[in-house]
């Protein structure tokens, strides 16, 4: 039974709407239950860490303490990578020593034992049970779709805090994509930072970070980028147009790389419609590519079917030829034996 306490995060019903919709769609299909932490509050993200270490620990700890009391025994799932990192950082701090835990208790002024674990949505969907359920529900494999899985930095670093996948070349999302028939490409910017809040605070400095991510995905033959974080999504999807404008001005070819949440693509493979999954409200047009690849997949399947038929025909032909040869050989041998027998007879005579 897959049941988790859910930490929705501030963007769940705003910029991360599509992520929430598609996650709920997938969760329902595979029988995974998410219970929102009652009265949760903002994790504080990097802004809290850059204001005060105490604040960075206290903000997430409050939501975790509530989860511990109200939803005992359930692991907390955070869909947003930023929330995931903040929650885990606070948790790891509290678990480090009894003094730390006591300090956190004082800061949040609540009972707290730091017993509830925090995992990311990607981790929850990568669990063996979830993967089996996903594999069972796929009705339409997303063949021909070359995806660059983008994990971002908060999902895998620092290693002491986020230790569920490799910090340089994580694989969990690639495996999920392969599970639904898509082709994950091997690319190098899986865990490069998208700039996070700095895209707002220091946009001029931070924009090249996004461009380089698109550049490497494109150079490695990806059709699209798949993410697991609403902030990464916002930075990539919303700002692609602006980057393309600058590229055109500089005489460079613009990118045409739509971005998806991994849950959207899983939903699609379950037979969901783009509008059911929130794919229709992306900034960069996201539906055409999927339609085109679906068409490609149909053609590929046709071609494969033709190739299979051709192969069967050749096999049959070959079998027939072998049978004919065998029959000829047998006839010849029989003749020779007869002749030999005749010679023998003559000799005997």
């Amino acid at each position: 039974m897959m049941k988790y306490a859910n930490f929705p995060g501030c963007s769940a019903n705003t910029t991360g709407k599509s992520f929430t919709i598609s996650t709920n769609y997938v969760a329902k299909k595979i029988g995974c239950e998410f219970v929102d932490i009652p009265d949760w509050n903002c994790c504080g993200t990097s802004a809290a860490a850059l204001t005060s270490p105490e604040l960075a620990v206290a903000l997430p700890a409050r939501s975790l303490a509530i989860a511990e009391q109200k939803l005992p025994g359930l692991d907390v799932v955070a869909a947003c990578a930023g929330c995931y990192k903040s929650l885990r950082t606070s948790l790891v701090y509290a678990r480090k020593s009894a003094e730390n835990l006591e300090q956190v208790r004082e800061l949040i002024d609540m009972p707290y034992e730091a017993t509830t674990d925090v995992i990311s949505l990607l981790e929850a969907f990568s669990a063996p049970e979830a993967r089996e359920a996903i594999a069972a529900k796929v009705v339409k494999k997303l063949r021909c779709l070359k995806v660059a899985c983008y994990y971002g930095c908060a999902m895998v670093r620092p290693v002491e805090v986020c230790d569920f996948d490799d910090p340089e070349d994580p694989q969990s999302m690639d495996e999920l994509m392969a599970l639904i028939g898509a082709e994950p490409v091997d690319w190098a910017f899986k865990t490069e930072c998208c700039g996070a809040a700095q895209q707002m605070a220091v946009p001029k400095e931070a924009r090249p970070m996004i461009e380089r991510i698109f550049q490497n995905a494109w150079a490695n033959g990806a059709d699209c980028i798949v993410t697991s974080c609403p902030l990464c999504m916002l930075n990539l999807d919303m700002r692609e147009a602006e980057i393309n404008k600058a590229r055109i001005a500089a005489g460079k070819e613009p990118f045409d790389i739509p971005c998806y949440y991994f849950t959207e693509l899983i939903g699609l493979a379950f037979g969901g419609q783009a509008s059911e999954l929130g794919i229709d409200i992306h900034f960069h047009p996201a539906e055409q590519l999927l339609q085109k690849r679906a068409q490609d997949a149909i053609e590929l399947e046709k071609a494969e079917a033709a190739a299979r038929a051709e192969e069967e025909r050749r096999q049959a032909e070959l079998a027939e030829r072998i049978a004919r040869k065998k029959a000829e050989k047998a006839a010849k041998e029989a003749a020779a034996a007869k002749e030999g027998a005749d010679v023998g007879k003559e000799d005997a005579r």
Binding site: D166, P167, E168, D169, D186, W187, A188, F189, Q215, N216, A219, N220
Partner: protein, 660 residues
């Protein structure tokens, strides 16, 4: 009751100037057990020594206290003197009246009081000493060298040239080790094979050297002069007495296997010689990949062999021999960088290679016949990045230490690349260039003049865009991020101890440091000896080294071995630990802390209360024990004691000082 003779020395005025020696002598006469006291102007002089000898015989003395200079100065002199008398040389105690009394105090009365105390202590101790006898250990005049790389070969040749028999055990099918894989050697750029293969054949042909290739040490027992070693010679499936090494079998074998010698960059057959100049120059069958041995079908090699040397029924052979000395020349391997550096692609880019792969690429007998062609598409790389310290100086991912040889061989690689690809570009990322060695810095500067671009900084990431490998680094000298779009990247990876050294070292009780290298007895003064007497170190078994250093150390280890084998017998130090088996509980605490592995726990049968009882007791190996006494304190039962420094004698010394 003991008959103690006390011989006090004036040492001219050295002692007598500050100590009233006669007063001390007067006191000594009153001490229990003392039967004779004599003073002398110079006891260590010939007449002085003669006097001592005469007194011993005349007065029937059975133990001796001398009160001259420090025992560190003349203790051996006194022991030698006693050896010529009926007194056992270990029934001796020296009171240090000069260095630790007369020379450090000015007031005669006070110094005399102290001298009296020192003599009291010595008398008290000597009264409790018992005679000790050194035993003679025979020395088997034969050495075992483990490892047939350049260090092992040099050690073996030096020992063999001195006239002693040597056996080399080599795990691989041929001698040569890592050196024979290299293309050229810095700083002189000699062809490595040209200077290494003659050594290999010299070793192979030396009348005093037995080469056991494809063999490993199975077990060992014994001690200095008498190591009994069992060697497992793996099945070669070829009768070397019949094989002529013609190579017909290799040309016909149908199985193709990844070639380890070429660092995985080409294939070899299942019946193979490691490389053309291998010694012994005969093939073996790699059983794991042989179709005949795996599936029972094939047998091509047996069919083509003109001398009928193939024997599919061959089995491992065990032989046991006794050796007087053992040299570890087990060498190194390169660290497996792939799991450690995912940011460098973790092995998924075929054109990110190691230095050893580069050596094979640039070698005329290598997989590309010496043309530098990158593995992915066999194109000549026009831009090469060399990264130093991959796994070295990186405690986060690899090893904290510096691998010592990389600065030089990376300069060599840059030089070789620019030599073979004159229109190519070469970038070397480094943190420091360390070139202490004759002609080394000049070599590095020449490489810089060849056009190698040295960049001070560590590369953070290598990734692929198109068919280029993008290397992101910082030139810390200008504080700029730099990127290079390279065709090929060479990682100069750290040296780590060879596989299996942990087990081997444990068999011989040779210590290993935190990184796994074998530990020398003293970093400065005994660099080629181990803490186990009779076992020596040569080459990179002890730590990262280049070829000249390995050869030097090999010679040093050989000279130690020759010094040992030159002796017919060793005299054991009798001042070693002794077990009181009545008290020993056999719990092995002593064995656990002994740094020399000298104590073992054995089952022994005793007759106790008219019954036969079998129980474990500690046993001290006199060939291994060095007499430190650490075990004596750790024994809870007090069963362990140190001869010459027994608990009883030290306690009485203390008592003498306090109460007499």
């Amino acid at each position: 009751m003991s008959r103690i003779g006390v011989f006090l020395c004036y040492c001219g005025s050295n002692i007598a100037g500050t100590v009233d020696v006669e007063a001390v002598a007067e006191m000594a006469r009153t001490l229990p057990g003392v039967v004779y006291v004599e003073t002398n102007k110079y006891t260590c002089s010939d007449p002085g020594q003669e006097g001592v000898k005469n007194a011993i015989i005349e007065k029937g003395i059975d133990r001796v206290v001398v009160g001259p200079c420090s025992p560190r100065m003349h203790e051996p002199t006194w022991r030698k003197l006693l050896a010529d008398t009926p007194v056992n040389p270990y029934m001796l105690e020296v009171a240090n009246l000069r260095e630790q009394c007369s020379w450090v105090h000015k007031d005669k009365a006070i110094a005399t009081e102290k001298a009296k105390d020192l003599v009291k202590m010595a008398v008290a101790k000597v009264a409790r000493l018992s005679p000790l006898h050194s035993t003679e250990i025979p020395v088997h005049k034969k050495a075992l060298v483990i490892g047939g790389g350049i260090a092992g070969m040099q050690t073996a040749l030096d020992i063999a040239d001195a006239g002693f028999k040597v056996t080399i055990v080599e795990r691989e099918t041929s001698l040569g080790g890592k050196m024979v894989m290299l293309d050229k050697t810095f700083p002189t750029m000699d062809c490595s094979a040209c200077i290494c293969t003659p050594k290999m054949s010299e070793v192979g042909n030396h009348p005093n050297i037995t080469v056991k290739s494809y063999s490993e040490v199975e077990s060992v027992s014994g001690y200095i002069g008498n190591f009994e070693v069992t060697i497992r010679e793996k099945a070669k499936y070829i009768d070397y007495t019949k094989c002529t090494g013609c190579g017909a079998c290799e040309t016909k074998c149908p199985s193709k296997v990844i070639n380890e010698f070429e660092q995985g960059m080409s294939k070899r057959t299942a019946i193979y010689k490691m490389f053309p100049q291998a010694v012994p120059s005969k093939p073996v069958i790699d059983a794991e990949h042989c179709r005949m041995l795996q599936e029972g079908k094939c047998g091509v090699c047996a069919k083509v062999c003109p001398t009928g040397a193939i024997n599919y029924q061959d089995e491992d052979k065990l032989t046991t021999e006794t050796y007087g000395a053992i040299v570890f020349a087990t060498g190194y391997k390169l660290i497996d960088w792939k799991p450690l550096y995912p940011e460098y692609g973790g092995g998924k880019y075929p054109d990110v290679i190691t230095g050893l792969q580069f050596e094979r690429l640039v070698n005329a007998s290598g997989p590309t016949e010496g043309h530098i062609l990158r593995p992915s598409d066999n194109k000549e790389p026009k831009s090469v990045v060399i990264i130093k310290c991959v796994g070295s100086r990186d405690p986060n991912k690899g090893k904290a230490y510096c691998s010592r040889a990389c600065c030089m061989y990376s300069a060599k690689h840059a030089h070789q690349y620019l030599d073979k690809v004159p229109d190519g570009r070469c970038y070397v990322f480094y943190m420091d260039v360390r070139t202490p060695g004759k002609g080394y810095d000049e070599f590095y500067m020449n490489t810089v003049h060849d056009g190698a671009q040295y960049l001070r900084g560590r590369v953070s990431k290598i990734y692929k865009e198109g068919d280029k490998l993008i290397c992101k680094g910082e030139d810390t000298l200008t504080s700029q991020q730099v990127t290079v779009a390279a065709d090929m990247v060479v990682l100069e990876t750290a040296m780590v101890p060879a596989d299996g050294i942990d087990e081997l070292a444990a068999k011989f009780t040779v210590g290993r440091d935190a990184d796994g290298w074998l530990v020398e007895a003293h970093a400065k003064l005994r660099p080629v000896e181990t803490n186990t007497a009779g076992i020596y170190l040569a080459g990179t078994a002890q730590g990262p080294k280049d070829i000249p250093d390995s050869v030097c150390q090999a010679g040093a280890a050989a000279s130690k071995v020759i010094g040992l084998l030159n002796k017919d017998k060793l005299e054991s130090n009798p001042q070693i630990s002794r077990v009181n088996e009545a008290l020993c509980q056999g719990d092995g605490a002593c064995a656990n802390i002994c740094p020399y592995g000298a104590i073992s726990i054995v089952e022994k049968q005793f007759r106790e209360n008219s019954r036969k009882v079998t129980r474990p007791v500690a046993q001290v190996n006199p060939g291994l024990c060095q007499g430190c006494g650490a075990c004596t304190v750790t024994c809870r039962a007090g069963a362990m004691d140190l001869m010459g420094y027994t608990n009883e004698s030290i306690m009485r010394e203390v008592d003498a000082l306090c109460q007499w």
